[in-house]
Amino acid sequence: MSGRKRTWEAISFEFVMTVIAIIALVIIIAPSLVVLIVSFTSGFSLRFPPPGYSLRWYAELWDAWQLHFAAKNSLIVALWATGLSIVLGVAAALAISRSRTLSARLLDSLFMSPLVLPALAFGLAALMLFSLVGLPVSPLTLVIGHTVVCVPYVVRNTVAALAQLEPTLLESSAVLGASRLYTFRRIVLPLIRPGIIAGAFIAFMSSFDNVPVSLFLRDAATDMLPIRMWQDLEGKLDVTIAALSSVLIIATVVLVAVMERVTGLSRRLTN
């Protein structure tokens, strides 16, 4: 249609690129599928393919109170960290989003820096500060540490949503006599809400999955799920972990599907 000649040269290019792309996509999804299949094994090992199928490891998971306890802790910390990230992050995003000043750009870099700096170094640093000021590690220190590493996602997604906001809408609202707070509640917030939700979702997932910060900032009584799983895996290869992993994979797939509906997550992350 475009008059482009389909020479062997063009075909070889498209063939190579398509084949690599498909291999890459398979490499991306295969591990999750493997875990899902192995979790239904009737045997005691992680042999693939499984010798037979059963739900025994899910029954085992049902009774694994240590994992339940750790999951509950992780969930509570993630919810608090996400809530705090939304409050602090959205306010900060409102301040820095339309400002071109040097201080706004510096603050933006500061708020984004936990994304590139090694989280383990930050975890150690935070532990040293807390022990210096005499604040013992507790769920509180965990929430603080998690908020530092999770708030960048809320800031970034909220700033992106604000950047797409039509300034004339706000001007019209002001011209029609609406107060700033009223304009924020009735115009700004509804329009940027999907952006905030997308950011909060990623913040929640990364808090729930965080190991480097939790490793230093938790107390002995606060077992966190990813650390529990990691330590279980270091010790022995337990098939219960496969069942738990499958539950987490399914939960993630469901949440991502919901988020795609609510916020258009895929467009948001590639724009």
Binding site: R4, A10, S12, F13, T18, I20, A21, I22, A24, L25, I27, I28, I29, P31, S32, V35, L46, F48, L88, A91, A92, L94, A95, R98, S99, L107, F111, V116, L117, P118, A119, L120, A121, F122, L124, A125, A126, M128, L132, G145, V148, V155, L170, E171, S173, A174, T183, F208, P212, F216, P226, L233, I241, S245, I249, T252, V253, L265, S266, N271
Partner: protein
Amino acid sequence: MGAAPASRDVTSHGMGLAAPLALFFLVFFVAPLLQLLWLSLHNDTAALHWGLGQYLHFLTDPFSLSVLGSTLLLGAEVTAVCLLLGFPIAWLHQRVGPRLQTIIILIVLLPLLTSVVVRTFAWIVILGRQGIINATLQSLGIIDTPLKLLYTQFGVVIALAQVQMPLMTLPLITALGRIDPNLDDASCSLGAGSWRTFFRIVLPLSLPGVIAGCTLTYAAAITAFITQSLIGGGQMLFMPMYLYQQASTLQNWPFASAISIIFLLAVLAVVSVFTTLGRMSRGYGGA
């Protein structure tokens, strides 16, 4: 005359709204890092004697230097694999319909949001002695005894590449989406073949995305503590685990601080090299 300041007033909010987060970061992010720096400049664990002893120890110790070297090398290998595999995904994404586009993005996105421990665990199942690769090769009669794949550099690179792939692919998809498709057609109708068009037009124009992807992938790969330790096993030591051992097991906080600072500086150096390249490539793309 009053219109401009008034409109600025309603569309932007005061910097005061950033104060709570700025304060929070000052106390819980900047202060800890400064304290880390302060402690690293002491020669003893009680932090009584100032000095560069910790850094001298690291920089003159062949073992420490080899840990740093292998960590930086690991990052480069993972980034290269991600780029090689991620670029074709972004390319394919450009050529398919909107429905397939969403599916490709969701496939890429999913591992990013799945627990790192879960993703790493999956690679243990695949690479293990009884894992898929060994089972397949054995049943095909290609090998007699299982290959050692777990606890090798190869295993760590492949697992990390899969874990970090979204960080490379998403910026590439964004970058390729911004290239005018007419350029591709123009190049081809002027007689350049597909390969040449790709290397001379598409690749250079997507450099900002390539650099953004490389920065994120590299930084994530060298700090990916869980995957490194589970797939690498006890014999392979990288900077994050080295830091953790010194801080937690040996309680040598000044040395652990120095390791952290050296590691931080290494990451910052890499990021700023990439950022500089990115600025140069934007000039190139615009020309």
